[in-house]
Symmetry: C2
Subunit: 268 residues, 2 copies
Amino acid sequence: MKLSIVLSLQPTQFTALTFQGKMGKHLRKIKTLGYDGVELAIRDPSLLDWNQLEESIKTSGLKVPAIGTGQAYIEEGLRFSSPSYDIRKRAIERIKLHILLARRFQAGVIIGLIRGKVEGNEDIRRGFDWMIDSLKACCEVAEKEGVSLWVEPLNRYEINLINTIEEGLALLSQVGYKNLGLLPDTFHMNIEEPIIEESLRKARPYYQHVHLADSNRWAPGFGHIDFKSILQVLRETQFEGFLSAECLPKPDADEASERAIKFLRKML
Amino acid sequence: MKLSIVLSLQPTQFTALTFQGKMGKHLRKIKTLGYDGVELAIRDPSLLDWNQLEESIKTSGLKVPAIGTGQAYIEEGLRFSSPSYDIRKRAIERIKLHILLARRFQAGVIIGLIRGKVEGNEDIRRGFDWMIDSLKACCEVAEKEGVSLWVEPLNRYEINLINTIEEGLALLSQVGYKNLGLLPDTFHMNIEEPIIEESLRKARPYYQHVHLADSNRWAPGFGHIDFKSILQVLRETQFEGFLSAECLPKPDADEASERAIKFLRKML
């Protein structure tokens, strides 16, 4: 199992990101700490110089296992489940860009908050159907590009479409694309899954990337999630993907990233 | 330790209540299941016939250890931290009514969501100060009536004033009233407290009522919170108050209430 940590390339209000901005400096820091990879959180790929980004990543010696997309919802309100045709279309176009960028790194594209929260006055079933249609449109493009999309179940407070691993598995079979997988996140699982280890076992063939944050969303080791037991399940089930720290920059980004890798390395 | 369960006396959107409405029938059911008490969730005490309520409770043979107040925020937007003088005043007046009603049952009054969520465009420090002033006004009345107020730390998604036991303890000393205590809730603690048992020990002299819900807010036993360990701490620290089930009515209210007491009784 390899370790990565999230780096946001654009300013965002999203707080569960260990590093934000200043790419070159952060990449060196992440490499020096011993991480194998860096997960990139990107609001809008069209605002980045892709060749320069590729060059920086190459120089750093880090892999990019995944690209996060949720900032497009947080900052711009783009979402798959919107009643507005225009917003759905823009959300799909945005994710297509993420897919093209992900191809360069052989990374997966994370489908988290971009699903969007269906608002109180909207019909949740229609929102669900729009999400499905949007997902299919993205899966089709991703399939041609050889890229995987990963649906991350998020806790009930953040979203009302796919909170649990079980709902995620049902979604995969409904959408029906082989390049669509899941992305378990321990912080969300601590709220939503009756038994975290059981859910990880059940979903095992359907994920190749896992988000790690402790029960309070601080770096692993700051809360009460039993990571020893979780890593044991991943080991037993031959998980060989990345464990990616997506946590609050607390007490600050440097300490969070140092403590996370120190805590996890001794368990691997 | 005694067991109670939450019953809502008025219609509400608040989902974390095991029973809603139909008082007489529910009181009999709760008593028959073996609970010692019933926690009443009341949006507006002025809409109830207090003598009739007292009579029904007496007939049921149940104690009323606590009165919940959060529906006044959820349904009417009343809150201690509002920038609007009028809203703060109405929130305080409402809680004063809860205090007068609580006196009849020697119950505590829960100060949870009524603190309110400070909105993005508001100054959180001013909201905090307004909450303090509102709390003091209520404590003064409650002191005269011989009633205790209990501040319940709620997770970060529900509120941004007092999420943790530590913040709660600091608040108590800032407000400075002896009749102000805390109310730990295991569902919220699972998200906010690094180690639930340690926080329960640290806050021990400051609470006499505990909310129980599992990690997914279903009844205890449906999730992964270690209630055996939590009850052990409460036993060791001579907790003699009520353990009150405040959980989602899932799979339905009847099964939630039956499973909760069956699960907890064997640990007491």
